[in-house]
Symmetry: D2
Subunit: 92 residues, 4 copies
Amino acid sequence: MTHTIREKQKLLARVRRIRGQVEAIERALNSEAGCEQVMHLLAGVRGAMAGLMAEVVEAHVRTHLVDAEKYPEALNVDAASQLLEVVRTYLR
Amino acid sequence: MTHTIREKQKLLARVRRIRGQVEAIERALNSEAGCEQVMHLLAGVRGAMAGLMAEVVEAHVRTHLVDAEKYPEALNVDAASQLLEVVRTYLR
Amino acid sequence: MTHTIREKQKLLARVRRIRGQVEAIERALNSEAGCEQVMHLLAGVRGAMAGLMAEVVEAHVRTHLVDAEKYPEALNVDAASQLLEVVRTYLR
Amino acid sequence: MTHTIREKQKLLARVRRIRGQVEAIERALNSEAGCEQVMHLLAGVRGAMAGLMAEVVEAHVRTHLVDAEKYPEALNVDAASQLLEVVRTYLR
């Protein structure tokens, strides 16, 4: 699904950061950290997941909704931006 | 933004139902209803709003992302369906 | 559910503002406004609904989780604040 | 924050499952899986995270909002259940 090597590296970096955040939750539970700290860490992962999903959706819209080789002009860039803005608002 | 008269009627019917639900919350507050009832009514409006947003996003994707008159074949219908499925999951 | 007259007035003011926002969506659909505008208005209602829900949940926690007349000292105010902070984060 | 050994084990099992799901996303990106698959995996993690957060919030409410040793009767169990139902609805 990743469409350039650079994009793939960016997504992978995000996923690895999320894995690190999940491991921090595991450590927090193991070390009997307070509820407050665990809830904070969970909220952090949720935000990071939303950011990753927004990026994947964006890649999907820009790359797959229209076959850009056959129809290089067909995607309405403004309409796509409006859509992605809505998606980002709701993903938070 | 509505693209056929039928689609417009459907969206309007949804909005009017939501307005009725909001008025019910106003009445509940005025009549000193319990927190539980108010929270239930609020959750109901939230669900109805999500359904409306999903429908508007769907209309937007199907109608505006590609100029269908100029490029009748350009929209990848499968990719659009996958996108809308994700949007619906997150809008709940 | 509202616990003081002032609190009730505040919640009612919020609900009425939301009703006005829903009516604006109805007008936008009727006047064939663009998708973008409708999606913006919907996102606005969603935000306002989340704010209202956060306030109702807060009133619920502060008033009903503990019978303050019988147990005036029992609610752990810090723990309640942490909970409400989480609720607000997730309601956005 | 975990309050019994059994509860802690349950939360840890959830976190480890989520870590496994995040690792699956990493593998999917590395193996050039389709957008659709990646979006599905992401939605799965989101659901699992919401379930974990709901459980942590529940533990927090049941354990910390009231000091149960000093005030064993003070927490209104019905009001707490209503609150947790709302939290679960919004966390989905």
